[in-house]
């Protein structure tokens, strides 16, 4: 904690608070978490009029200082000075939306009672003006007893005036620094507090004061005709659902078509960089650590960036335009049926890119029960890391099918995940007993055109939050996986023996030119030895060790090694199999891996990878929980080990049973 003076921005959700925060602080801001919870803490730096630096805190959006969600709780605690990690603000800026003034003034009526220097920033005055709403800010200022400054954040209008009002409020000589509750407000509350219903009289009194205030200082206009017309379409029985399907469909298609090549480019780019850097190094453990541990780890993190960035781009566009609130309305009925909530929609949608941002997005869900169930089922939705595994297995084992049927298999995998998520959510609700359903109270903000700068900043902040949260775990695990696939190394005798076995059996491919023969042979030997080395490593032993458990599902120890590798991140399965099958890095030679897998035989001569095995493996990847980074995030979000362990155990048992059934039916 610093002794800088702090200024808190408080306001309703969607009131333009973040836009104003960005306008005030520029890019001098950072996003962290309040310790122990995952609510984001946004802090920025500004310089006050006297040149001294100060901190601006962007509080989570809140309707009231009596909180109902973890987000709102933080806002209230900071404002009351109840958080050990955040100093009580020296001044408060109440951000209120001129087009929905009454509700904003409700929050102001509570902020006035904080007895802190207060300045009111009136946003969206341009939108209000378009609707014929005229706010007499001088009259409002006089009635509230605190400065009222009209602003348009993204155009910078009024920002300078707001700064100097904050300066004066901090100096405490503007005569209006929280001089106390306006008499009219106190009187209105007192007037109604004679009734026998304290809750009604308190809030009724505030709104009576607001009504009087607005009658004196606001000329009310029409409601938003644009929003009304757009909603007539977007919430329409037929067009609304059609448009929703279209938006979600294009989101998925973009994620797949655009992100897959970008993912490939990222990982091969990182790998190439590693090889280039180590080109002059002698072969050995260090070189291997750098290439297969560190750079593979960085690559494993970097491949997610395109997906995550695209996802957040979509989400910020949808959110800033106002559509996400409508999506929650559209989906609430459906989600409610399985024990989820309209607000679960955004987390679940995000989980298709990666479960981690999905789980982090659950903090807007007010009810702890629905939040936990959303967290519980989010990893069932097929994240982008499963995509390479699906693609490999489908291409290898269903290549005889026409392309559209292969596409259908892919779709079926996604649907299986969705079905599993809904079924488990429904079951969890049944088991825990359905208490009265959690209320759905959601403001639908008016539609607005997203601001590119704002959107870019959100994408950047969310993507870097993902990188620091998930990236560190994935990176660390990649190094662990490198170590257990490298050590212990085979003995010199073993290598000699393996080399002579290789020499005895190896035949050059028929079309090898004579001058390339030695090169091809060396290459094949290296790969064969790498495969053998993996077999003697810890991972190899683990593969053998878990074989009895996975044999009923049709999996052998080689697949077991792949599954162990997949705990770093699922797509590592592909590269681990690449090493097991001695085709080297399959990044650019997945064809070779497919051929090797198809050619692999059991001791009795039957193929190892049958369609039944491949299908069982696909089902495993849809349903199993094998992502340690997700488990780590769930632990942090739920504040204990109960939920993550329940999730880890439950999903894997479920996957095991489903694979057993699949394999028994097909084999």
């Amino acid at each position: 904690m610093s002794d800088l003076r702090t200024i808190a921005l408080a306001g309703n959700p969607n009131c333009g608070k973040t836009t104003l925060f960005n306008a005030l602080t520029g890019l001098r801001q950072r996003v962290a978490n309040y310790p122990g919870i995952t609510v984001e803490k946004k802090v920025g730096q500004i310089r006050l009029g006297d040149g001294s630096p100060a901190e601006v805190i962007d509080l989570p959006g809140t309707y009231s200082l009596v909180p109902t969600s973890p987000d709102e709780q933080v806002a209230a605690e900071v404002l009351f000075g109840q958080r050990a990690d955040t100093k009580r603000p020296d001044a408060v800026v109440a951000v209120i939306d001129a087009s929905t003034l009454a509700r904003g003034l409700f929050l102001v009526s509570q902020l006035l009672e904080l007895d802190r220097p207060l300045v009111v920033a009136l946003t969206m005055s341009d939108i209000a003006a378009r609707r014929g709403i005229v706010v007499d800010d001088r009259a409002l200022e006089a009635a509230l007893g605190v400065p009222v400054i009209p602003v348009v954040g993204h155009k910078g209008v009024g920002v300078a005036a707001l700064r100097s009002a904050v300066d004066r409020a901090l100096e405490g000589n503007s005569g209006s620094t929280g001089a106390g509750v306006p008499k009219a407000l106190a009187k209105a509350i007192a007037a109604s507090s004679t009734s026998t219903d304290p809750l009604l009289s308190e809030i009724g009194g505030r709104y009576a004061w607001i009504d009087a205030l607005m009658a004196a200082s606001v000329r009310s206009g029409t409601k938003s005709h644009l929003t009304e017309r757009v909603d007539g379409f977007l919430l329409h029985r037929v067009f609304g659902l059609g448009f929703f399907a279209l938006i979600m469909g294009s989101l998925f298609i973009t994620l797949f078509t655009l992100a897959a090549p970008l993912m490939d480019a990222c990982s091969s780019g990182v790998a190439a960089l590693g090889h280039w850097l180590t080109a002059s190094m002698a072969d050995g453990d260090l070189k291997s650590l750098i290439n297969d541990g560190i750079f593979a780890g960085v690559g494993g993190v970097v491949v997610f960036i395109p997906q995550i960035a695209l996802l957040f781009l979509f989400l910020s566009l949808l959110e800033d335009s106002g559509y996400l609130a409508r999506a929650a309305v559209l989906m609430d009925r459906l989600l409610c049926k399985v024990g989820l909530h309209g607000k679960s929609f955004i987390p679940l949608l995000s989980a298709f890119a990666c479960a981690i941002p999905g789980i982090m997005a659950t903090r807007t869900i007010d009810s702890r029960r629905e939040r936990l169930i959303t967290i519980l089922v989010a990893p069932f939705l097929s994240c982008s890391a499963r995509l390479p595994v699906y693609a490999l297995l489908i291409a290898a084992f269903f290549h005889h099918l026409p392309g559209w049927q292969q596409g259908l298999i892919m779709l079926a995998l996604y649907l299986l995940g969705i079905f599993a998520a809904f079924a488990v959510a429904w079951l969890a609700t049944k088991i825990r007993g359905r208490v009265a359903s959690t209320p759905f109270i959601l403001e639908l903000p008016s539609y607005k055109l997203p601001q590119p700068r704002q959107v870019a900043l959100q994408v950047w902040q969310n993507a870097s939050a993902f990188l620091t949260k998930a990236g560190t775990t994935i990176f660390a695990l990649s190094i662990v996986i490198w170590a257990i696939t490298t050590y212990p190394k085979p003995s010199a005798e073993r290598i000699t023996a393996d080399t002579s076995t290789f020499t005895a059996h190896w035949q050059a491919p028929a079309d090898t030119p004579a001058d390339k023969l030695a090169e091809v042979r060396q290459d094949a030997l290296d790969k064969a030895l790498a495969g053998k080395a993996l077999e003697t490593s810890i991972a190899g032993h683990l593969g053998h060790f878990i074989e009895p458990a996975i044999a009923p599902l049709g999996f052998d120890w080689k697949m077991g090694i792949g599954l162990v590798g997949a705990f770093a991140a699922r797509e590592v399965f592909v590269s681990t199999l690449g090493i097991v099958y001695a085709v080297g890095d399959p990044g650019d030679a997945t064809d070779g891996l497919q051929a090797e897998m198809l050619a692999d035989r059991k001791p009795d001569g039957s193929p190892v990878w049958t369609t039944a095995v491949a299908t069982s493996m696909l089902v495993w990847f849809v349903l199993a929980m094998q992502c340690i980074s997700t488990t780590a995030v769930v632990r942090r979000e739920t504040g204990g080990w109960t939920w993550p362990l329940l999730q880890l155990g439950g999903m894997n048992v479920l996957a095991w049973i489903a694979c057993l059934i699949t394999y028994r039916i097909l084999a």
């Binding site: 709403i133 009724g204 009310s220 919430l235 659902l241 559209l330 959601l442 403001e443």
Partner: protein, 92 residues
């Protein structure tokens, strides 16, 4: 000034016809929910309109105090409306 007669059968928000207008009389529910409904501006005397229903029938979208608020029928049923009287729909 738009004057509409609240339908005599309309006792709660959930009974409003699409486009229908009413005036809040009572707000029920457990204390936490009741507080939030009141805080969102659903105070006795406040006029509001049912703008539309979601495609699957629920939730409902209301316009009040210059903004749109979405509630499920379950919450809407907690808000009683004044009956019989002529009520002011939208303030001039």
């Amino acid at each position: 000034m738009v004057i509409k007669k609240a339908m005599s059968s309309s006792h709660t928000l959930a009974d409003l016809p699409k486009g229908g207008t009413g005036t809040v009389a009572t707000v029920g529910g457990d204390p936490r929910l009741r507080r939030r409904l009141l805080e969102m501006g659903l105070t006795p005397g406040c006029p509001l309109t049912l703008v539309r229903r979601a495609p699957l029938g629920d939730p409902l979208v209301f316009n009040l105090r210059g903004y749109d608020l979405s509630l499920r029928s379950a919450e809407a049923r907690l808000v009683g409306l004044t009956t019989g009287n002529l009520v002011a729909g939208i303030r001039p």
